[in-house]
Subunit: 244 residues, 2 copies
C-alpha cells in the first residue's frame, strides 16, 4: 500500500489546533477532508506531533497510506487545490511502507519569536509574543545555557501529558536578538508538551528579574511544574522542521 | 490649537485602504472614529499619503488639530484602546502648529517583500508577493540601478493620479536576498502613485527574462505606462517611515 510523506506549512491562527474535532476547523480535519475530496477515501493521517491552537508550522511532517492510484505529484496538486490557503503542502513524496511521521522522527527544530517593545505589533499580533517589559538579555542568555543537555524536564512539561519519562536531551537552545525581536531556536530528539513555551516563558521571567539565572537549576531539580515561570503563548511558536 | 503627530503601524489586509469611505473599514475612518470616542470631536486627520487596500505600514505618520484638553500621552492611550488590534499607535507627540503630516514630509522609505519559491506561503500570504518563477537575480540588480537619480517616472506611475509633474529623485533602491525572500528598499523625497509596485513588478519581469535590464532605459524614455511591466500586488508593500 503506497505511503506518502507531506511537508506542511500552516498559519496556526486559522485553526483550532492539529487534532481532529467535530465542528471545528482543525489541521488534521482539513487534511483528511482534502484526501476524501481527492480519492474518496476516509483515512487517518499521522503528524510528527500535534500542535496546539495558534501554533504555526514551517515544516510539519504528515504521513498517510492510501489505495488510490495517484502519484506524489498528483497528491501535491490536489492538496494545494483543496486545502485552505492558510495550509500549504510544500512537498509530497512516496516513502517506504514502514515510514511513520510520528514514530520515525529522529528530532525536531522549533523557533519561538518574542517582540520586545512597548506597543504591540499590528502586523505580527498572531505571529509573535509581545513582551512590553524591559528585559535583561544577558541574564536570559546565561539562563538559557542551563537547559542544554540530557535533563529531567518535568518542571517544564504540561501537566496533562501522556509522557512516561520526562528526560529529554536538548541539543541546542540559541538566542538571537535583532532590534526589537528575539528569536529562540530549539533542537532536540524529542520535546515534552509545552516544553518550548514553558522554557521561553521562564527565560522572559529571568529577563524581567523575577527569576535569577541560577534558579533554573533549582527549578529543574524540583521536578514540579508549579516551580517554573510563565507559559509563553502559542502564537510565537513555529515547528520549523522534523528530522528522519 | 494643539497639533499632534501620530506614528502608526497597521496590517493593510484588514482595511479597504487609507481613505474614509462610508460603510467600509478604512484606516482614516477608524482613526477618526477613535478620536470621536475620545474627545467627542468630529475631525479630519491628515496622513503623509494614502495607502491602497492591502498595503501595510510600520511608520505611517498622521497629524490632527484638536480643541480637547488631552495631552499626547492621553491620546496615545486612547488610540490603543479604541483602534482595532490591526492598527497601533507607536507614538503620539505634540508638534508645532504648522506641522502637516502630508505637506511637511521631506521623504519616505518603502519596502517591498517578494517570496520566491514554488509553493505560496501559508503564513505570509497577506504579507508578501509570491513569485513562483525562477528569477535571474543578477539581472534584476543590474536593472534596479537604472532607476536611481532624478528621473521622469511617467512610465511607472498609476494612470489615475493627481500628480502634475512626474519627475522624482529616487535616492536609494536596494535589493537584499535572504533565502527565498527578496527585500527591496526604496527611499525618495516623493513617490508617484503605484511607483514602487510598478518598479518591483517590472524588476520581476526582468528576473523572468521578459524584459532585458537595458530596456529599462527605453521604458523610462517612452513616458508611457503601457510600456512598463506588471504592477506588483499591494500585500508586499510596507510604508516604513516618513522623514520630516
Amino acid at each position: 500500500m503506497p505511503n506518502f510523506k507531506i511537508i506542511l506549512e500552516y498559519d496556526g491562527s486559522d485553526f483550532a489546533g492539529w487534532q481532529f474535532q467535530p465542528e471545528q476547523k482543525t489541521l488534521q480535519g482539513e487534511l483528511e477532508r482534502a484526501i476524501k475530496r481527492t480519492s474518496g477515501e476516509k483515512l487517518r493521517v499521522t503528524a510528527s506531533g500535534r500542535t496546539d491552537a495558534g501554533v504555526h508550522a514551517l515544516g510539519q511532517v504528515v504521513s498517510f497510506r492510501t489505495d488510490a492510484k495517484l502519484d506524489a505529484r498528483a497528491w501535491h496538486g490536489a492538496f494545494n487545490q483543496y486545502l485552505p490557503h492558510t495550509m500549504r503542502a510544500m512537498s509530497v513524496e512516496e516513502v517506504p511502507e514502514d515510514f511513520n511521521a510520528r514514530f520515525s522522527a529522529k528530532g525536531k527544530q522549533y523557533e519561538y519569536i518574542v517582540i520586545n517593545r512597548k506597543t504591540p505589533s499590528a502586523i505580527r499580533r498572531n505571529y509573535a509574543w509581545h513582551v512590553p517589559y524591559e528585559l535583561d538579555y544577558d541574564a536570559m542568555v546565561e539562563a538559557s545555557k542551563l537547559f542544554i543537555g540530557c535533563i529531567d524536564f518535568t518542571s517544564f512539561s504540561a501537566t496533562d501529558t501522556d509522557a512516561v519519562t520526562f528526560t529529554r536531551t536538548l541539543s541546542r537552545l540559541d538566542m538571537e536578538r535583532d532590534g526589537e525581536q528575539i528569536r529562540f531556536t530549539f533542537v532536540s530528539a524529542g520535546f515534552l508538551r509545552h516544553m518550548v513555551r514553558n522554557i521561553v516563558g521562564t527565560l522572559v521571567d529571568v529577563g524581567r528579574g523575577r527569576i535569577a539565572p541560577l534558579d533554573i537549576t533549582v527549578i529543574l531539580e524540583a521536578k514540579d511544574r508549579k516551580m517554573a515561570g510563565t507559559n509563553a503563548p502559542p502564537q510565537g511558536l513555529y515547528l520549523v522542521k522534523v528530522e528522519y
